[in-house]
Symmetry: C2
Subunit: 161 residues, 2 copies
Amino acid sequence: MLGQAEDRPVAVQIPVKNADAVESRIEDLCAKRGLRMTEPRRVIARVLSAAEDHPDAEALYDRVKEVDPTISMATIYRTMKLFEEMDIVSKRDFGDGRARYEPQSGPDDHHHHMIDVETGEVLEFYNQELEDLKKRIARDLGFDLVDHHLELFGTRRKKQH
Amino acid sequence: MLGQAEDRPVAVQIPVKNADAVESRIEDLCAKRGLRMTEPRRVIARVLSAAEDHPDAEALYDRVKEVDPTISMATIYRTMKLFEEMDIVSKRDFGDGRARYEPQSGPDDHHHHMIDVETGEVLEFYNQELEDLKKRIARDLGFDLVDHHLELFGTRRKKQH
DNA sequence: GTAAATGCAAAAGCTTTGCCCCACG
DNA sequence: CGTGGGGCAAAGCTTTTGCATTTAC
């Protein structure tokens, strides 16, 4: 009833949550780097793969605990450090004293963040002009760019000038 | 006895270091904003005015103690917070878990930092193109820019391509 | 004289680590 | 089965705070 499956295909396929997917992008990466795949790492990898925001250690801990309550905070930190070294996640600092983590899409995934100082909301953006300019600035200073962080802090514009 | 006080008033003409200057740029600023000028604030202001690097709280504490050993770490932090709110210094984060402080030259002094990941050396730079681009990006995202941080991490280029 | 600033020490985050047990490969 | 990984709790660091005392204006 109510039309054929093709009418709303997405809803018909089982709505599994990403975190429960048998195989997550980050699990794949772990395998590729030959990391020993333990239960905590699997869970953390899935939670990270499913994350669409910029969770801090505690947020990760909370999400991970929902899947497996025996996993400890120490493991969150140890795993984040490991994943960082493996270029699986990148650590960010939005100026509130805690580290945030996000999956690293690729070696040259250099998006940045616009942070609403009133609400704490974080928007991601990418701008090719900015990428080029940064490389040029570094080169002019005599450096090869290894990494860079840009965070913009602002307030939503209520009226245009 | 032992000669009159006037004979060695201030040890004659001492080649005072910047930090001992009677009037420092930051002291001026404090006065302008009507801050109550206490001895610790005066000392901290002078140390900051004389700083040509990016000291963290402990480095400031050490320098301040040389002038007045009774000043406490709590006062360093409290004063940095105050100066930050007054736009007298800006707080920076070079990714090592401690805040760095530096005098703010002006309301639109938005230089940035190029950090040598091998030596920890920090170069400052300013680039108008970058300033314009950032404002434009923020506007395109619907924001008014309040603040922004950019840090470039790199290694010194040994050979040009 | 009064409100604000400071020193001291304790507390509060966030993150790391030692130690011993457990599980992956 | 041996070695790396994980849980737990304690320690480490940087920064903040409560309280009594001192200081600037």
